[in-house]
């Protein structure tokens, strides 16, 4: 059991990347409109994030350095600053959306408007970061987030034709009535969400927070290869349940209750109750991940003391940044901006940040001065280089596709 509790850094990181408020809805939208014809994107996303999260975690364990530290050192202050501005903006927008997301999950449970919950949620997010030990935090929210496995149970209960589902997933084609640009817009959204930069900022900094060393490389790998595939499975289960129930009925998804609908159908009220716990945990976990990542990346770029290992008074600027980010995030949601839409548009900014984040990780993971015998092997380097090319293509295509399809409408 003790060994199992060690994988929750990976689990929480993946939950924040794959099933945060934007992706909960996006996965259901994709299932309801495209069936499983975009499942291959999730597989590609899981492989990509495993590859780079493993590198960032390995560098963190061997050298004790978080990812943004490397970004600044390897790209220099200028390109590093461009990445800092772009990725902080994405991370901040996502933080705002997640604060709204937790509130939306409360609304689903109580039917009281989500706006009333926003200040409370923001306070709780900050309070957990201020007071809760890092490992307790990742275990509590990672474990509760596993309630989202209700989607997988529901899928099982719905008794689908597994052969047909597999055929859809393995022979992807654009369904009738959907345009190619829209299909590719959603492909890029899912891929971008799977590989959002704050996942590696959080994972590598979390590894430092937990004090991993060279001895913990096994734990590091276990975290990567349990956490991210689990995130992928949750995403797939959401898409599959909505492909089975919502697609044939022609139901359009734009709210959290439609995301839950297939599970309620399959598992009844208990299913809904479990799912709501999962929604709260996943969005709250994503809020913690993004709030901390904002502080981590800024502090690492500027060389400040950061993290939860020391008393807040010894990392004063770090804690000040996190506090300000949470307050501003809550204010942004209180303008009644739709949290789900916010995460969709943040894609534009992550486009710039993606290559500028993953390139320095690859460089340092190959540097013998830092890594000694733990440097990358040839296969990993070949794969990672392929992904860098892919990420650059995605980055270039994201903005034109978004404009052309009006964000997938």
């Amino acid at each position: 059991m003790k060994g199992l509790l060690k994988v929750f850094l990976g689990v929480l990181t993946a939950i924040g990347g794959f099933v945060d408020i934007g992706d909960l809805v996006a996965n259901a939208v994709v299932g309801a409109r495209f069936g499983l014809s975009l499942a291959w994107v999730l597989v590609a996303g899981v492989v990509g994030i495993c590859l780079f999260a493993d590198m960032s975690g390995r560098v963190a364990a061997v050298t004790g350095r978080g990812t943004f530290d490397l970004v600044r050192e390897r790209l220099g202050p200028r390109a590093g600053l461009a990445n800092l501005v772009a990725s902080t903006f994405v991370t901040f927008l996502t933080l705002a959306a997640e604060i709204g997301g937790v509130a939306l999950a409360f609304e689903l449970a109580t039917s009281v408007s989500y706006l009333l919950f926003v200040p409370l949620v923001a306070f709780l997010v900050w309070f957990v970061i201020w007071r809760m030990p890092f490992e307790k935090m990742e275990q509590a929210f990672g474990l509760a987030g596993l309630c989202l496995l209700a989607f997988a149970v529901a899928l099982w209960q719905l008794g689908p034709d597994w052969g047909e589902l597999f055929r859809q997933a393995s022979h992807p084609s654009v369904p009738d009535g959907e345009g190619h640009p829209t299909y590719w817009f959603y492909a890029i959204s899912l891929f971008g969400a799977a590989m959002t930069p704050y996942e590696v900022f959080f994972f590598s900094s979390g590894a430092v927070e937990e004090g991993w060393t060279r001895k913990d490389l096994k734990t590091e790998r276990l975290n990567v290869y349990v956490g991210f595939p689990l995130g992928g499975v949750l995403s797939l289960a959401i898409a599959a349940t909505s492909a089975l129930v919502l697609l044939p009925q022609g139901i359009e998804v734009d709210h959290l209750d439609q995301v839950a609908l297939p599970t309620v159908l399959a598992l009844g009220k208990i299913g809904l109750a479990v799912l709501i716990v999962g929604f709260v945990a996943a969005t709250f976990g994503a809020a913690l991940e993004t709030a901390l990542s904002t502080g981590y990346s800024l502090a690492q770029y500027l060389g400040w003391q950061w993290g939860k290992r020391t008393a807040p008074k010894d990392a004063a600027r770090f804690h000040a940044v996190v506090l300000v980010a949470v307050v501003l995030g809550a204010m942004l949601v209180l303008t009644t901006l739709d949290p789900v839409k916010v995460t969709e548009y943040s894609l534009v900014f992550s486009a710039i940040a993606l290559p500028l984040t993953y390139f320095p990780i690859l460089v340092v993971a190959n540097d013998p001065e830092y890594m000694a015998e733990s440097a990358n092997g040839r296969v990993v380097n070949a794969l990672a280089t392929g992904y860098l090319v892919l990420l650059t293509v995605v980055a270039l295509a994201a903005i034109p596709l978004m404009i052309a399809t009006k964000a997938g409408q």
């Binding site: 202050p77 600053l81 030990p133 008074k313």
Partner: protein, 130 residues
Amino acid sequence: MTGRVRDLALHLLDRQVVDTEGKAVGNVDDVELVVPEDGSPPYVVAILTGPQALARRLGGLLGQWLGFWSHALSRPDSSEPGRIPMELVTDIDTQITVARTRQELGVHRNEDRARQYLILRIPGARHARQ
């Protein structure tokens, strides 16, 4: 302190500086060079750290913008960048270690202000949670 030959851009600039307690002091945002008149190679006399140093090194519009903000946000007595003489540097590795604590170096005015005016006013600021 003579005889340490390093590639400046690769081994010094932008690296993390830590104090005797392993706490972060700042980054190497710039360095102070001395060029000897006898034509021998230039050497580094001090590490400069803080937004003012970074602004100068960045130059251009970006540097001006950063310089403006760091100047506007700092008190008049702290508009110079933090300076750490090379005599205090004990180790140049993947991070730079100096033989003083953060307080003794006195390059930490912004951190001190964030602590004094915000963080210490919140209950629980003095306790680490492991």
